[in-house]
Symmetry: none
């Protein structure tokens, strides 16, 4: 084999490598979302791939490892968006709205009906939890900055997160889901409470 061929070969190989890795990741994402981390088996994952079971372990050390990779990847995709929203905002409401919208758009992209997934619980997999944690950190950071020192920041953040979490899940049930409207709703509810959002539904 000439160097040229070899170069081509290794190019192809690298290509195959990422293609396989991506295929496994994609399969795992779906399987975890459908069955939950515990119930899903490595065999479930590779079965949705044209690879053999042993190949899984060329790419990931364990079932736990792929879940972690998935989680890290999801968190890393969301993180810069959240940061951008944080910088763009001028007031608290705008900021909340931006951050939650980013999260909701992520949810729709990942678990919206187009994904063909059945009803999705939003924290059944490590990836979902990681993404949610990303949101939590953003909220914690900002609220910690802006609230009066005597405020119960933990509880406040918890409340805000709760709204985002369950309104987000509810949004995913709608056809079509509207992440922007849902985010506006959540942000207003966080800031002004139930009566404010009850008036104009």
């Amino acid at each position: 084999m000439s160097d040229l061929t070899e170069a081509t070969d290794s190019g192809r190989r690298a290509q195959t490598k990422t293609r396989n890795r991506d295929a496994i990741l994609a399969a795992a994402r779906r399987v975890f979302a459908e069955l939950g981390y515990e119930t899903a088996s490595v065999r479930d994952i590779i079965r949705r791939t044209d690879l053999a079971s042993g190949t899984f372990y060329n790419y990931f050390r364990s079932k736990e490892a792929i879940a972690r990779a998935l989680a890290a990847d999801a968190a890393e995709r969301l993180r810069p968006i959240l940061r951008a929203e944080r910088e763009r905002a001028t007031d608290l409401e705008g900021w909340l709205d931006g951050v939650i919208r980013a999260y909701f758009r992520y949810l729709v992209e990942e678990y919206g009906q187009a994904s063909g997934l059945p009803h999705v619980r939003i924290d059944a997999t490590p990836a979902q939890r990681a993404v949610f944690e990303e949101l939590r950190e953003s909220l914690t950071g900002i609220l910690g900055d802006r609230l009066a020192p005597q405020a119960d920041t933990d509880f406040l953040t918890a409340g805000a997160i709760g709204i985002a979490r369950y309104v987000g899940e509810q949004m995913l049930r709608r056809a079509p889901p509207d992440p922007d409207a849902a985010a506006r709703f959540a942000a207003r509810m966080i800031l002004h409470g139930l009566p404010a959002v009850a008036r104009d539904g």
Copy 2:
């Protein structure tokens, strides 16, 4: 054997029986809370007991069955309290406060630090989900009654539930947890939003 002895005998036996049943239930409650339903094994449960593996099946038909029993029991303990709160309340805030307080008290009783449990995720077991569902139904019922028809009841209920869920979880992390204060916080946040609760923490 005299009747007296016999009565004592069967009394003791019945006593042992309930003691064992309770021990298994308690162990299961802890194990499920620590590991989650899927991860927990029947062996994990009986290992925390001084009973033999087979004994588990003298009391419960299956792992699923004990989870159901735990869930039904928990839901049934909460239900009458929720109903009572519903009747006692005169305004929406009082009502929200009462219902959430009932839920939070239940959480503290069940998963407060006294239980020696590490950090508890509030919806990892069928029992927790059943209790939470009980709360959801209460909230859904009341909010459905009181809100203007054009309001987005699903989203509103989702938001209220989210606040209760995550403020409750946060409360469990405190030493000592104060369910009444936390409930007041949650109810006010639901009704008036973040600024109202940020002022006086």
Copy 3:
């Protein structure tokens, strides 16, 4: 307690004892016939009794032991009848007929439709095998006596036994089963072969 009472008591006790023993035996007979020895469990047996599981072991040392008892009992009931038939007979045909009739009557009594049992395989339990073995011994004994020394007694007995076994099973499927006719058929088939019994069905 006076001696008198005691005597009465122990009389009652003995009575209860045999009643219990018989109840367990009867239940076991049915359960073994329905499920086969392997599949039947001790719990299956005592469940058909108003006794408790532990009581079983006051009467029989083990599941195997009750099966042996059942087998011995059945064999002992059949044995004198077979012996009587053997003595009554004047020729080989009469003798075969008598012995097989005794066996078939036993089958009908034990496993005929009146027993409410579903289709019965005739050698699924130790008792059935013991009874069958009794028949085999009778046949072996007689044929050994009467056959020419150069005859292949083992094969001949095997053949005769086979006819009795399968014609007997077939008979049990009929409503009502007619053990006497079936025995006559079997005896004639053994002695004269298929054409003899084919003529007059």
Copy 4:
């Protein structure tokens, strides 16, 4: 790797695979024959193999499945032979002889002393029953065709089957077993009865 190596590789692998499969089947055949289907455990089977317990399930879905495979395989091996015998025969005796001989040869091959098996009950496993059922169908078919309509075909077939069954079992006890002689005996006994075969043993 060159194609050649690959071919060799997969050849070896396929070889191992069939070797393992055959080893499991052989072990199962023996274990079932010795202990009966109910009593035999999957562990008993793999223990007679140098494989690990999980490996069993790479080859068969369940204990039931391997029993079915064994039964189907046995029946399929016997079926064409029986059919051939049926076509070759010119008279009833020849036909009976052929069919029973096929069955007896199968028995010797499968459970003859070379197998090292202790005394074998001929209908304790699904495979044995399947093979026997194959014989029964052959006998039923032919006798149904050739007998006078008023004949009691059920009883006649039962008798013929019984002879084959027990003479076959008896034959297996001999060293060496002679399936052809035994078949001739059985066929003659079916057709002419005991005296015919008693004369020349």
